[in-house]
């Protein structure tokens, strides 16, 4: 009575087949990540040393370290964050908490999605025209970071808006019905509950900003400068561009140098991400701020 019929058996084997299929697809997803990390560590690990991290390149980049590029990337990312996070978060709060559902809001949403789809080289040309030439910032960290900020703003806005909308409507209703204004509701209930999601958006932005090459090539990053950046009006080296240069433009460079640079870049992104993840966990523990 309770034996498996032929149909049961066939269904079961089909089910196993699909399970395997999905499992293998997942494996294929992580394989490249592991391969990249493995290759970088195997081939570039030897290049990493305190000297590599903390000195400037010498001998036409064939020896020495990456310090100016490392600092340059940190500058570019930080300045871009300082510009895009406040604007992006505020815009997302407006769109999610204040704006009504009308053609104007829908147009803005459409614009944000399209902005996210613009290729980075187009952003680069926009940055060159707008920030370097029109506003007269010259090729500088400021112009490059502004370009990066414009490019990554949609990520911040979308992530923030989604985490705001994940806060249950009942919480807002409860606040409004006690006589709280929209802002009091946002400040005391909505934001504390959305902050972790917003930080996830910021983490995504850090990763993307640190790795971008095209937008900074025309706007602020240079192939080589022996000087460390001191203000936002300086030109700077950057890890991503440095990697491109070392890998393609310098004949006779040791093989391990480009791999080492890539490892430093990934390490930097991972460090920044870990910091914001730690901050996020700390906030989640507190839930009051």
């Amino acid at each position: 009575m309770f034996q498996a019929s032929a149909l049961n058996k066939r269904n079961e084997s089909v089910q196993k087949l699909y399970r395997m299929l999905f499992g293998m697809m997942t494996l294929m997803l992580i394989a490249p990540v592991l391969l990249i990390l493995g290759t970088l560590i195997a081939k570039g690990g030897g290049a990493i040393s305190w000297e590599f991290l903390f000195t400037a390149p010498t001998d036409g980049m064939r020896s020495g370290g990456v310090l100016p590029a490392l600092l340059g990337t940190v500058w570019l990312v930080m300045v871009a964050l300082m510009l895009s996070v406040p604007i992006g978060v505020c815009a997302a709060i407006y769109l999610s908490e204040y704006a009504g559902d009308n053609w104007f809001t829908r147009t803005i949403n459409l614009a944000i999605i399209n902005l996210a789809g613009v290729p980075s080289i187009v952003h680069a040309l926009f940055g060159l025209g707008a920030f370097v030439i029109f506003f007269g910032f010259g090729t500088s960290i400021l112009a490059a970071s502004l370009t990066l900020a414009v490019m990554t703003m949609p990520v911040v806005i979308v992530a923030t808006r989604e985490s705001l909308q994940a806060v249950p409507q009942a919480f807002r209703e409860a606040c409004w019905n006690m006589g709280a204004t929209r802002w009091q509701t946002i400040r005391r209930v909505v934001l504390p509950n959305a902050i972790t999601g917003i930080l996830t958006g910021v983490i995504l932005e850090v990763s993307r900003t640190a790795g971008e090459t095209a937008p900074i090539m025309f706007t602020g990053a240079v192939f080589f400068t022996p000087f460390l950046p001191e203000s936002v009006m300086d030109q700077t080296m950057a890890l991503s561009l440095h990697l491109f240069v070392a890998a393609t433009q310098v004949p006779g460079i040791a093989d391990e140098v480009p791999f080492g640079i890539a490892l430093v870049l990934i390490g930097l992104v991972l460090t920044m991400n870990s910091a914001s993840i730690a901050f996020r966990m700390w906030l989640r523990g507190k839930k009051k701020w």
Partner: protein, 268 residues
Amino acid sequence: MSAAPAAALLQPSPEYAIDTKKLNLWYGTFQALYDVDLRIRQGMITSMIGPSGCGKSTYLRSVNRINERLGYVRIEGSIDVMGQNIYDPGVELIQVRKQVGMVFQRPNPLPISIRDNILFSHRLHAKGGGDVHQGTPDEIVEESLRTVLLWDKVKDRLKRKATELSLEEQQKLCIARLLPVKPKLLLMDEPCSALDPKGTEAVEELLWELRGQYTILIVTHNMAQARRASEECIFMLMGKVVEHAPTEEMFVTPTHQETADYIEGRFG
């Protein structure tokens, strides 16, 4: 009504906490309320019954003006709360929300501590020197929780999140958090429908505790509850008030055929 709120405060409190005159309400083109005239006695528990869609919740929601948040709602007529029309142009919505507390079908405590939930609206309204409870935060928390018969259960875990409480406790907390700002009116929209019989009994017991100090208007689907837990009862049908009478009278000798049919369960 005079526009000066100070003068209104000095007047002796009227016999009726809510005085509704010719209230008509439309959702878009659909008319949900027809010429509603209702006077709710102060300090009493009044229940509203009627089949789904009869307009009782709509009426309740117009007494603290949440309906208009929908945007497509049109209202004619007036609702005087404690002698002042809350639809007057000069009326501050924030004050309406302070004076008229609302309890919902699903308990909706905020995802913060029990203590912070109690103090939330007090913090909103105390700064401007409004008429709120004057005690220290600790006193306010204790008194409010004692009033809703919750203090002994939660006094050792005031810092815990309110969302960890049972539904019944959450609902009591939602009532308790309204009290520190001294509302005149408590509106309850089926406050027991998410609770089990024991929780329902506890909340009904609480209603009788609050009676006298607050005017309570409660919408319910449960006719036994209306009978147990209210002094006056309103029966609505298709957006109109059919009957408004002392509860016992309505359940024993209803004057309208529709009321009798509904009470006896012939429709609804």
